[in-house]
């Protein structure tokens, strides 16, 4: 089944406390070369039928309205496989 992936990340200027907590933990584990971690979300959207421009436009709409909050997040839509 064709799969469309939506990657959602906090905007660069938005504080990411979860990423910071992960970075600190990595430091404690000895991964001391890590200078930054940001945590985002990956959505795998399975589409019935062909993934054409219209289907991708629908996924863009899903991302814009529900998957991402564009006040604080940005997203990228891509076809995988």
């Amino acid at each position: 089944m064709p799969r469309v992936v939506v990657d959602v990340m906090p905007k660069p200027e938005i504080l990411d406390p979860q990423g910071q907590a992960i970075q600190k933990a990595l430091g404690r584990m000895g991964f001391d070369a890590v200078s930054g971690v940001r945590q985002g979300k990956r959505f795998e959207v399975e589409i019935e039928g062909e993934v054409d421009a219209a289907a991708l436009a629908k996924v863009e709409q899903m991302a814009e309205t529900l998957l991402a909050n564009t006040v604080i997040e940005e997203f990228v839509v891509r076809v995988e496989g």
Partner: protein
């Protein structure tokens, strides 16, 4: 006249019971609304309570925003229906774009639960008309994702248009920009705040009874409307 004030229950709401109780103590009739309702039963105002609607899945408030009851509330808010969002309710209002900005994880990464002083910044809304600007009130705050954030232009607009309703004083519990604890929409009928006035309505259980004023405010605004 007895005001009828709707209190919405989403799956995962926690403070709907306390919100309904606060409505009753203020002298109004609470009307319980379910997230699947499409009809608001003619209520005069609506409270979106705190909790973890839909398990905070995706983002706090993001899924609740698309529940059937929210379609009716968004339509009502556009026509002037007073709406108060508390904590998770505030998050739902931001996700619904009824209020600007967003709530993100507390900057110190810990859940915070304490009694919090707030300064009233706007007493011209139906939810704050029984308070006065500059008054300080003590109500509980309890959140993990309560940091209010907006871009610089939006923050400036909130100040210029006098849309900050409550500000944290004597300590900011979550890293909210400009110590913002609560805001209103342009018209003033929609107010959202992170702290919990519904937990401060009785001496037995609250740190004060300061929170009751929000509920008497809306009742009085209905009587005088």
């Amino acid at each position: 006249m007895t005001g009828r004030i709707g209190v919405v229950t989403f799956p995962g709401s926690l403070d709907d019971g306390d919100a309904a109780r606060a409505v009753r103590i203020a002298g109004a009739e609470p009307v319980r609304l379910w997230h699947r309702d499409t009809d608001l039963q003619g209520v005069d105002a609506v409270v979106l309570p705190g909790g973890f609607s839909y398990g905070d899945y995706l983002r706090c408030g993001a899924i609740a925003r698309f529940s059937p009851v929210m379609s009716a509330i968004i339509a009502g808010a556009g026509q002037g229906l007073p709406v108060l969002g508390i904590c998770n309710g505030f998050q739902v209002l931001c996700e619904s774009h009824l209020l600007p900005g967003a709530l993100i994880r507390n900057d110190h990464r810990h859940f915070v639960c304490r009694d919090q002083w707030l300064r009233v910044e706007n007493d011209q809304t139906p939810w704050t008309q029984d308070l006065r600007v500059g008054q300080e009130i003590l109500v509980p705050v309890k959140n993990g994702e309560g940091g209010f954030i907006a871009d610089a232009g939006t923050l400036q607009m909130l100040e210029d248009e006098n849309r900050v309703v409550f500000r944290y004083v004597r300590g900011n519990p979550n890293g909210s920009r400009a110590d913002i604890a609560g805001i209103r929409n342009e018209r003033g009928n929609v107010v959202g705040l992170m702290p919990h006035p519904e937990h401060a309505v009785e001496d037995l259980t609250g740190p004060s009874i300061d929170g009751l004023a929000l509920f008497t405010s809306v009742l009085n605004s209905l009587v005088n409307a």
